[in-house]
């Protein structure tokens, strides 16, 4: 990620969008987990995906 993320604002906006309110006493730990998730995800985000790679799930009606 090129710019620092305002995780507090991100959580606030996303909470409203998905209808999942984080109680105040769980907010700090949830943000800490989000930051950890972002760190763990870095090797995937850095991977240069070949163009036209289909996502794995296939729906067969």
């Amino acid at each position: 990620m090129s710019k620092p993320v305002d995780w507090d604002a991100y959580l606030e906006a996303m909470s409203a969008m998905i209808g999942l309110t984080i109680p105040a006493d769980h907010r700090e730990a949830t943000i800490a987990q989000l930051k950890l998730n972002a760190e763990i995800t870095q090797p995937l985000l850095a991977f240069d995906m070949p163009e036209g790679t289909n996502p794995a799930p296939v729906f067969k009606p």
């Binding site: 999942l20 949830t30 998730n37 763990i40 995937l44 991977f47």
Partner: protein
């Protein structure tokens, strides 16, 4: 025999706490039915009279499927058995009960805040592993000869390693998951755990077959492996995973892989590409889908989740869609890379966990002079293979009196036969297999 098994569970389970529910009346009824079938001259099935137990996320008719949670423990009893239980019952096996697990299958310790801590039969100060910890502990302790577990990011493989037994994660989609509580549908498998390769194969052969009720279950007829075990490793091209899979490895885990390679005469190594990104992809898919599965509970009952799962579930609900779709794209790319490797190799050997079963009191381990946090470390080798959906048998290396350590025997999709044959070869060597009870 079933009365003796029930008495054994009643007498000894208190030491390890593997069971969360014992289906005593049902077991006695099923045993009587097997006896009646034999008396009537009918074939009672290939697993006639064999006791088994299941991880507490498989539906058992008349019992609430707790899935290691407080929330689901209060739900209505299941109306129907899971498909896997029905298949084992039809083969004559007898259900003894449900087994402890991590809350909603999220973790490697089976130190459950709602239903108790399962102890490792080899050393009660250590974890049995997870999330199918009760399944592995019950089999390792000899309370049941076979058990069912589930594996999303290593939940059959890690406890099999820590408890020193054989375990199978079949190919993704090979075995029906109908009637098991989903954790992460894109990565969920169910499979057996057993003390010997023959038992593991016998259960796997019964579990196979299509099921229209599971959207991902393959439309393939059963391909039994039991009759192939005598061929062992003959003619198979086998390599050891190098690179990522040879780093952050304790001497004990390295010794297990080395012993397997020596026993099989393997000298080649192979690099599985981008394993760190593969692990990250499994992590993202797990976080997002697990949160979606439990969204209602997160919204309405967040206080009833345990402290070790609550924030992982919550954070998963907020991850960007871009990350998730990229993880699913990566999965496709990764599977193709591995398919390329399996053009040259039939089986790849890899460690299961970087360390043997840790103590509940330990939060870090020192490997190659570095202190590493244990919880994220334990999934290093199993989670990196999770996106590919490959069949993997775990074989336990037991160098008495040291703790057991497993080896992953990885094969191409739907080539469980190759993994089973190598497991049989390792069992035949006398170096791999459970310690005597």
């Amino acid at each position: 025999m079933i009365e003796a098994t029930l008495a054994d569970v009643a007498g000894r389970d208190g030491y390890i706490h593997a069971f969360t529910h014992v289906t005593a009346d049902r077991a006695l009824t099923e045993a009587a039915e097997v006896d009646a079938a034999i008396a009537a001259g009918r074939h009672p099935g290939p697993l006639a009279g064999v006791p088994f137990a299941v991880k507490d996320l498989f539906d058992i008719v008349g019992v609430a499927t707790k899935a290691g949670s407080k929330i689901h423990a209060a739900r209505l009893p299941a109306a129907r058995d899971a498909a896997a239980i029905r298949r084992l019952n039809a083969a004559g096996a007898i259900l003894i009960g449900a087994l402890n697990m991590e809350e909603y299958a999220y973790g490697f310790y089976t130190d459950n805040p709602h239903h108790g801590r399962t102890l490792n039969p080899h050393d009660p100060t250590r974890t049995a592993g997870g999330s199918s910890g009760g399944s592995a502990a019950a089999v390792a302790a000899g309370l049941v000869p076979i058990a069912l577990g589930s594996d999303t990011n290593g939940s059959i493989r890690v406890p099999s390693s820590f408890c020193g037994i054989f375990g199978l994660k079949p190919t993704y989609g090979r075995v029906s998951r109908t009637g098991s509580l989903l954790f992460v549908s894109s990565l969920d498998h169910i499979g057996p755990l057993a003390r010997g390769v023959g038992d593991l194969a016998a259960v796997y052969d019964v579990l196979q077959g299509p099921d229209a009720d599971d959207a991902v279950c393959a439309k393939r007829p059963p391909e039994p492996v039991t009759g192939l075990l005598d061929r062992a490793g003959e003619g198979l091209r086998i390599a050891v995973a190098g690179g990522y899979f040879a780093e952050m490895l304790s001497p004990e885990s390295r010794a297990a892989v080395d012993a397997a390679a020596r026993s099989l005469g393997v000298v080649d190594t192979v690099d599985i590409p981008c394993s760190d990104a593969a692990r990250a992809a499994a992590y993202v898919i797990t976080s997002v889908e697990a949160a979606r599965e439990r969204f209602t509970e997160l919204r309405d009952r967040i206080g009833d989740f345990g402290p070790n799962t609550r924030y992982r579930f919550l954070a998963g609900a907020f991850l960007p869609a871009d990350w998730y779709v990229k993880a699913q794209q990566f999965r496709r790319w990764y599977s193709r890379q591995l398919a390329g490797l399996f053009q040259h190799w039939d089986v790849i050997l890899a460690p299961v966990a970087p360390v043997p079963a840790p103590s509940f009191a330990d939060h870090s381990a020192i490997i190659d002079g570095k202190e590493l946090a244990l919880r994220p470390l334990l999934g290093r080798f199993v989670q990196a293979l999770a996106p590919a959906g490959l069949p993997i048998v775990v074989a336990p290396f037991v160098k008495r009196p040291a703790l057991p350590v497993g080896v992953q025997i990885v094969a191409a999709p739907f080539r469980e036969d190759h993994a089973f044959r190598v497991a049989a070869a390792l069992e035949n060597s006398g170096l791999f297999g459970p310690q005597p009870r």
